[in-house]
């Protein structure tokens, strides 16, 4: 072999190695760049926020971020750009725990934010920091049925009638689906003199009517809407409205059961990150602004229930009044409900294991 062939092979090896090294170092360089941008953002011209949220809030925060940026520039003369990150709620919480530098988290359930708190990134007592358990907007679980409601589904009892197929995602893999399960449970509890065994029997029967357990909420919506499977979809109110709006009101009806659960998707500032990046002021303002007239209107326009009375009044036709129980009332909060119902060995996993 001639000498220059050998040399060129050596050179290409060295090149390959340096490419690999650069690729490894690339992330760090990026981190540094964003950190410095955040640090002088506190006083300087522009500031960047990262809002780590869950799937169905994409449209909501797209319009809210614009409104907040305008407000902040008017108020403080500072430009703010907000990056959004969406995905399954639990997955998003894990990303933050594993090092995704979120300034604020806006997730589907308190349990996910509790887990971020346990990792030390968020200070204790986050849920008392803002009004209404730090949930600026709420939602509930409703039924989406096919147009004309051919199976005559009116309330939770109708779901366990013969021949009714119910579509819901798996509560163990989908945070949103845990609200479905809890809504069914609390209904059964109230209609059986708070008898837990009867509630469990009801939920067990309900899941016997579930032909497919999708792993996430959007998957379940697809199964019901596109594949045409099942008679009723258990869905968040905002998702049900979106489905009706997107697919035409001539295909689906929304049914409000006699009672349901008050779903409270909470928000929190990630204390460790905002202190490091110097973005606390703007991050806190970002969450507080959700409670103002404008923030509440944007939430309502995206089919989330507003908590501010004046906005509630304006949208009262869109959100029928039904009896809503909070998770604290019925279950004593997420820290009790999660291990009891959804962790392995909990009630949900017992439903499927033969005795």
């Amino acid at each position: 072999m001639s000498k220059w062939v050998k040399q060129s092979i050596l050179v290409s090896l060295v090149l390959a190695m340096s490419v690999a090294l650069v690729a490894c170092g690339g992330d760090k360089a990026n981190d540094k760049a964003s950190a410095t941008a955040g640090a002088d953002g506190g006083k300087g011209k522009s500031v960047q926020l990262l809002n780590v949220s869950y799937d169905p809030t994409r449209e909501l925060y797209e319009s809210y971020n614009k409104a907040f940026a305008t407000y902040w520039e008017r108020e403080k003369g500072q430009k703010v750009t907000i990056q959004q990150s969406h995905g399954g709620s639990g997955k998003q919480a894990r990303a933050v725990i594993d090092g995704l530098e979120a300034d604020v988290v806006t997730l589907a359930l308190g349990y996910d934010i509790d887990s971020v708190q346990e990792s030390g990134l968020i200070n204790e007592g986050w849920q008392q920091k803002y009004e209404h358990n730090s949930s600026p907007y709420t939602s509930t679980i409703v039924f989406l049925v096919r147009k004309g409601n051919p199976k005559g589904i009116k309330d939770w009892d109708d779901l366990i009638k013969d021949g009714v197929e119910v579509i819901t995602p798996n509560p163990q893999t989908s945070g949103g689906a845990r609200w479905n399960y809890l809504a069914a449970w609390s209904y059964a509890l109230h209609h059986n003199n708070n008898d837990e065994a009867k509630a469990q029997e009801f939920v067990k029967q309900l899941f016997e009517h579930v032909p497919v357990l999708d792993s996430g909420a959007r998957g379940a919506t697809t199964t019901f809407v596109e594949r045409g499977l099942g008679d009723v979809l258990l869905a968040w109110e905002n998702e049900a409205w979106l489905a009706v709006k997107e697919l035409g009101p001539d295909k689906f009806d929304i049914i409000y059961p006699s009672e349901s659960i008050l779903a409270e998707p909470p928000v929190a500032v990630v204390d460790k990150i905002v202190d490091k990046k110097g973005t606390r002021e703007v991050a806190e303002a970002y969450l507080k602004y959700l409670y103002t007239e404008e923030g509440q209107t944007i939430a309502a326009e995206n089919y989330y229930r507003p908590t501010l009375d004046s906005v509630k009044e304006k949208f009262k036709d869109q959100f029928p009044d039904i009896k809503l129980y909070t998770i604290d009332e019925v279950f004593g909060g997420w820290t009790v409900a999660q291990p009891k119902h959804f962790n392995d060995g909990g009630i949900f996993s017992q439903i499927y294991v033969p005795k």
Partner: protein, 280 residues
Amino acid sequence: MTFMPSRTDTRRGVLPGFGLTMGYSILYLSLIVLIPLSALLLNSTGLTWEKFWSIATDPRVLASYRVSFLTAAAAGLVDAVLGLLLAWVLVRYEFPGKKIFDAMIDLPFALPTAVAGVSLTALYSSKGWLGSFFEPLGIKTAFSPLGITLALMFIGIPFVVRTVQPVLQDLDAEVEEAAATLGASRLRTFRSVILPELLPPLLTGFALAFSRGIGEYGSVVFISGNMPMKTEIAPLLIMSKLEQFDYAGATAVALMLLLISFALLLLINSLQSRVRKTAR
């Protein structure tokens, strides 16, 4: 016709600098494979041995292993047979559009598996084009182990075709002609001349398709229906444990999956080397 390299040639090797290349290989293998795998081990060290065992042998976990391994094996077997046929047609016959046909084999590699899963589910669900055809016959395709096998067949087929194809290409047609002139029937020629040559790559292709199928997540979650104890695959259980922030439990299941797959692949590999020896 074979060319034996002289002793000095083999010792010196073609690539320069054994130390350098070996060092780089080890570094690269560590960064890409060994360190991530040991991180997996580390994550599960929060568990005691009893805890690990009770997680890994929970009835629901066992059922999911059964689903994962059986469907992956079934898909691998079907792929091995049909992949051989595909490779045979591609190598031995000329027909219009052959190049496109050949390129299509690789599509399952390029396609995001979730897309494959969504489109397969659309086809095979009881209201889909193919599903609505099977449903009256009493065959449930989507949301059953059969659906999972179909998805795994889809993502596994390129492995078999691409391992068998080059061997088939190198096979000398003259050997077959010689067998024919010696009076062997076509079946005999295939069985005693062609098949022994093809068995090792077929086994490799099967092993690749099988192991890919065990860990497959994206394409399966949509078509499987995810019913616990029935159509729940092991990777989904791992995801469900992560959703509970149970890192240790998730890695326990993953580790078990890894160990079983490793044992099976080792078995297949040793089988393959034995086949290769008897073929010579």
